[in-house]
């Protein structure tokens, strides 16, 4: 079936790679992201100190040879906490996005495939969710459920469902009129088989691109909620809560807030650079074909 490889929204893979690899910024984003993931995985090997070890004599020390990025109010090493903090950001970001992707895409594909009243209802509901401020929705859910790692993931996942549903729905509507789907129906395949085996694989590239952009947003939301005090409870180091603690000592120890701020900025920027480059690469209009 030739239609599978020549569906309207998907360019040839080789062209995508060429467009992606010739964009210099995409390499910067990819390199940054790989570095951050490696740091998160190798945290116990890289961190110079125990991130939870307190010291009364070494409180609020400025950056020095022993503590490269200084120490916090409890005498804990900022660099080590920063290194371990990357784990929370990446885990919360990726798990929340995986959940949002699964639920969102399922809703989007079913709504697009079935159409009719179900489609209208779901899309109306999702429009409402899209209109509501992400941070406030997350804040409300996290506040109602209580501060914990699981609840944080749930809160962020809920806020990201709507965009995934929209990304999955539009191409589904185009794909369901394609010959290979019509043929599948004629052969007596059930709707679940058609949606799962014939439609879903055609959406993967769109969804992957969205994921890296929305993961940037998820990490931003996680940091913001942690900063407000709704994140993973202490003493676990997270970048948002480190900034919160640094903010309380901002007049005496500026480094406490600055370094985790830069860490968040770099991570989100890396994901945005990568996502932007991927999006430009798979969008034939932007590639100038």
């Amino acid at each position: 079936m030739a239609a599978t490889s020549a569906s309207p929204s998907l360019p040839r893979p080789g062209g995508v790679w060429l467009a992606f690899s010739s964009n210099r910024l995409s390499w910067v984003g990819l390199a940054l992201l790989i570095a951050i993931v490696l740091i998160a995985i190798g945290a116990p090997l890289i961190a110079p100190h125990d991130p939870l070890e307190q010291s009364i004599i070494a409180r609020l020390e400025p950056p020095s040879a022993q503590f490269l990025l200084g120490t916090d109010n409890y005498g804990r090493d900022v660099l080590s906490r920063l290194i371990y903090g990357s784990r929370i950001s990446l885990v919360v970001g990726s798990v929340a996005i995986l959940i949002a992707m699964t639920i969102g895409c399922t809703i989007g594909i079913i709504a697009g495939y079935l159409g009719g009243l179900f489609d209208q209802l779901m899309m109306g509901l999702l429009d409402v969710m899209l209109a509501f401020p992400t941070l406030l929705l997350g804040l409300m859910i996290a506040a109602m459920l209580g501060a914990s790692l699981e609840n944080l993931v749930i809160a962020i996942a809920v806020t990201e469902i709507a965009p995934f549903a929209r990304v999955a729905r539009a191409p589904t509507i185009a794909l369901k009129q394609q010959d290979f789907v019509v043929a599948g129906r004629a052969l007596g395949f059930g709707p679940i088989r058609i949606m799962g085996i014939h439609i879903l694989p055609n959406l993967v590239s769109d969804i992957v691109v969205m994921s890296s952009l929305w993961m940037a947003s998820a990490i931003r939301t996680e940091a913001s909620l942690s900063f407000i005090g709704l994140g993973v409870p202490p003493p676990t180091p997270t970048w948002g809560s480190m900034i919160r603690e640094g903010f309380e000592n901002i007049l005496d120890a500026w480094w406490l807030a600055v370094f985790p701020s830069l860490a968040i900025l770099l991570t989100v920027l890396a994901l945005n650079l990568l996502g932007d480059a991927l999006r430009d690469a798979i969008d034939p209009k932007l590639r100038g074909e």
């Binding site: 007049l251 968040i264 945005n272």
Partner: protein, 312 residues
């Protein structure tokens, strides 16, 4: 035009209804129930029952739902558990500060973002295009509290140009100094959004046939850009400004906390810290109504810019 506007407002009613229902469900999702969360672990059975009675939690769900809707429609959002004042009162006290901050930041964002976006589109792939694209990507990557803290450290603490703590002085000049950093913090993030959309929207319009025709018949470049292209390129920009409103509210909450400004942000934080669930619920309802009003106004603005939208 008036008929179009009325139609849009009528269409907003079901949306409002769904949002209110969602908020109602969310508040009832609290593990245990709101009363036990508010009073904590040590609460006695009698005090729990008393609070449940006060909050109406002992009624069957459908009765709770109907009285919830009835009270929202009559403008009664309940009373703050910690201060005892009505939620509407609490909000009205701080609302002017938040409105002032958001409006000034929108002006900053549009005033900087629009010309930059136009310049980037006109000089596509030139240096100004690359610089403004990179700047906007960095702007999009900043959580509002991160940029706020960095600005606070650099411009208020290290350079001392602006006050660190918001002083509540009546002097207009002092007021402006207080407003400058938070407004720029929100404004620069908004600039990034506006610049991006203006650029891509202008690129689309500049490729149209009628622009080529206008250029061929000798329309001067300035007039070509401002009169022939910009008006058509503005629709997506208006959408973004409208859609951005939700993000702006979220960001203003963080910004108010950082710069210690009175406003809705500090009200939310206070409600969170004192587990004031009625205040939180009331604030969510007010946000939902604001978002719907702004979305509807955005829709109506399309009609003003592009007469075709009205007749669809």
């Amino acid at each position: 035009m008036i008929r179009f506007a009325i139609e849009r407002f009528l269409l907003a009613i079901p949306t409002l209804f769904v949002m209110l229902t969602a908020i109602f469900v969310l508040v009832r999702l609290v593990p245990g129930d709101a009363a036990s969360v508010i009073l904590g672990d040590q609460a006695t059975e009698a005090s729990l029952r008393a609070l449940r009675g006060r909050l109406g939690l002992d009624q069957p769900l459908h009765v709770q739902y109907l009285s919830f809707l009835g009270e929202v429609l009559t403008g009664n959002l309940g009373h703050s558990l910690s201060s005892g004042r009505s939620v509407v009162q609490e909000v009205l006290v701080v609302l002017p500060y938040t409105i002032e901050l958001t409006l000034v930041s929108i002006v900053i964002g549009v005033a900087l973002g629009l010309p930059l976006g136009i310049a980037a589109a006109v000089g596509r792939n030139g240096w100004i295009d690359y610089v403004s694209r990179l700047v906007s990507l960095i702007g999009l990557s900043f959580p509002a509290f991160v940029s706020g803290i960095l600005m606070l450290i650099v411009f208020a603490i290290q350079l001392g140009w602006f006050p660190v703590l918001n002083s509540n002085s009546g002097d207009p000049l002092e007021r402006l100094r207080n407003l400058a950093l938070p407004a720029f913090n929100l404004g620069l993030i908004m600039m990034a959004y506006v610049m991006r959309v203006t650029r891509s929207s202008m690129l689309g319009v500049l490729g149209e046939d009628y622009i080529r025709t206008a250029r061929a018949k000798g329309v001067r470049p300035m007039r070509l850009i401002l009169r022939h292209s910009l008006r058509n390129a503005l629709i997506p920009v208006v959408t973004v400004v409208g859609l951005y409103f939700g993000t702006l509210i979220g960001n203003s909450v963080l910004t108010e906390i950082i710069f210690n400004r009175p406003g809705l942000g500090k009200l939310i934080l206070g409600a969170l810290n004192s587990r004031d669930y009625t205040l939180l619920e009331g604030l969510m309802i007010i946000f939902a109504i604001c978002v719907i009003i702004v979305n509807t106004l955005t829709d109506i603005t399309y009609g003003l810019i592009d007469p075709r939208v009205k007749h669809k």
